[in-house]
Symmetry: C2
Subunit: 238 residues, 2 copies
DNA sequence: CTCCCGTTTAACGTATACATATTGTCTTTG
DNA sequence: CAAAGACAATATGTATACGTTAAACGGGAG
């Protein structure tokens, strides 16, 4: 049996903890680990050929981003956000992505617009291919948009929210909803390109709302076992 | 010399790394450490009576919140945000705090309003006392407001932004600017209490803008030595 | 006197070892 | 038979040790 999954020793100039962080993050977002899955430091470290120290750091970081829950003395597990968490996330996301649009108006240089359109093309191409890639690109679109504002904090927050949105979508969304319609992205970019602030804001608002509906649609009182039980327990006075 | 600063061993049910995290965070926000101060794991651990492991975790967490800069293989130091960072922070803060107001309208129960007014009274009392306490309370007001939305993500972001704002203020603000005028907080709460959404939004917007001006006022081309040097260097083609 | 390069030193990155807390199970007892 | 307590297994919390990197220093050549 091979001691490591693949890839020989990487350049040590990139800390291992970063590598493990990315691996775990990707695994979680790709739903390789279902929500609630326990993430023991030992097994992960052994599987990845690193010590617990590294895994621990990665888990702490993921916890900071809301992807991993860290229960003291009880181990880490993949986050299982509630429907309420979902609402909270999308409410904040709408505010911040509207700010993204605002920040971008009047500051989108031609090369930036090109980058965006290149991304749209990629999204289109992926639409007929791997659905996993398609979903990933749809999220990346929003991340790219945020990054173009050159506002580091805004970019970081949007990135985090997009990640968590994708968790919400996988938990409560339609089985194979295509996340974001590419056409909505296109019309938004068009409005941005002609510096139509009001239209762009409106489009982004509607777009996020559409995503919200898709992500939380299935949630009309099903599937969120923990949440339902909590409701019943409350009725019983527990 | 005493091996530990004070306080006997605490309950081990609260992880030491949390304690160290809070100590360092407070120290940074109280400006006990100036911006740019190096934070070597060894010395801090020795001083606090914990191992490097603990300090390391705390530093990583602070880095995640933007209070500490973590240069690979070169150690950690207190963040030294630029004026541009300051602008970025306040832009996002305005968007999110406006969202806070929006979320609160129509949902402020009497006990919540009482809590807010109690805080305002505390702010008033502190105004004549310790200026450090006063500044701290002014920030806490915004944190409290955000927490009352019961939106965990929103609350976390606002808390983080308030922390970073205080760093900006200490770096670029007027020497003894009183951060937030308590009166601005009072009028805002009044508007919230009578569910006047438009007025409350407007007041919050103006308030954040006022804070922004106070925090970045001194920055008209002075004090930010590194930034200025960088500008000159750029002119000289360096 | 200045610049370059090998040496030194301090600090980080990582692994490992020990201590401790929690969970599930088994036994015992009413 | 059910419930309470003890024990073992598992996994985390923390400390320490080792290897390596990068900044600091000092000597020699130009």
């Amino acid at each position: 049996m091979m001691p490591k999954p693949s890839a020989a020793n990487q350049n040590p100039s990139v800390p291992k903890s970063d590598v493990v962080y990315r691996i775990l993050k990707r695994a979680i977002l790709d739903q390789a680990f279902a929500a609630g899955t326990k993430l023991p430091e030992d097994s992960i470290g052994e599987r990845l050929g690193v010590s617990r120290t590294i895994v621990r750091q990665a888990l702490a970081r993921l916890n900071g981003e809301g992807l991993v829950e860290l229960r003291p003395n009880r181990g880490a597990c993949v986050s299982h956000p509630s429907v309420e968490d979902g609402h909270d996330i999308f409410v904040v996301r709408r505010a911040l992505e509207t700010l993204v649009v605002d920040s971008l108006i009047g500051r989108l240089t031609p090369p930036k617009i090109e980058a965006l359109e290149a991304h749209l093309d990629a999204e289109d191409k992926a639409r007929v291919g791997d659905p996993s890639t398609s979903i990933h690109l749809a999220g990346e679109f929003h991340v790219l948009l945020a990054r173009l504002t050159e506002n580091a904090i805004l970019s970081r927050y949007v990135t985090e929210l997009v990640s968590r949105s994708s968790m919400i979508l996988s938990l409560y969304g339609r089985p194979h909803s295509s996340d974001c319609a590419v056409s909505e992205h296109r019309t938004l970019i068009a409005a941005l390109a002609r510096n139509d602030r009001e239209k762009a804001r409106e489009l982004m608002g509607h777009h996020i709302e559409a995503i919200t509906v898709r992500a939380l649609l299935k949630s009309k009182g099903e599937d969120d076992l923990a949440h339902l039980l909590a409701a019943y327990a409350r009725e019983e006075g527990l």
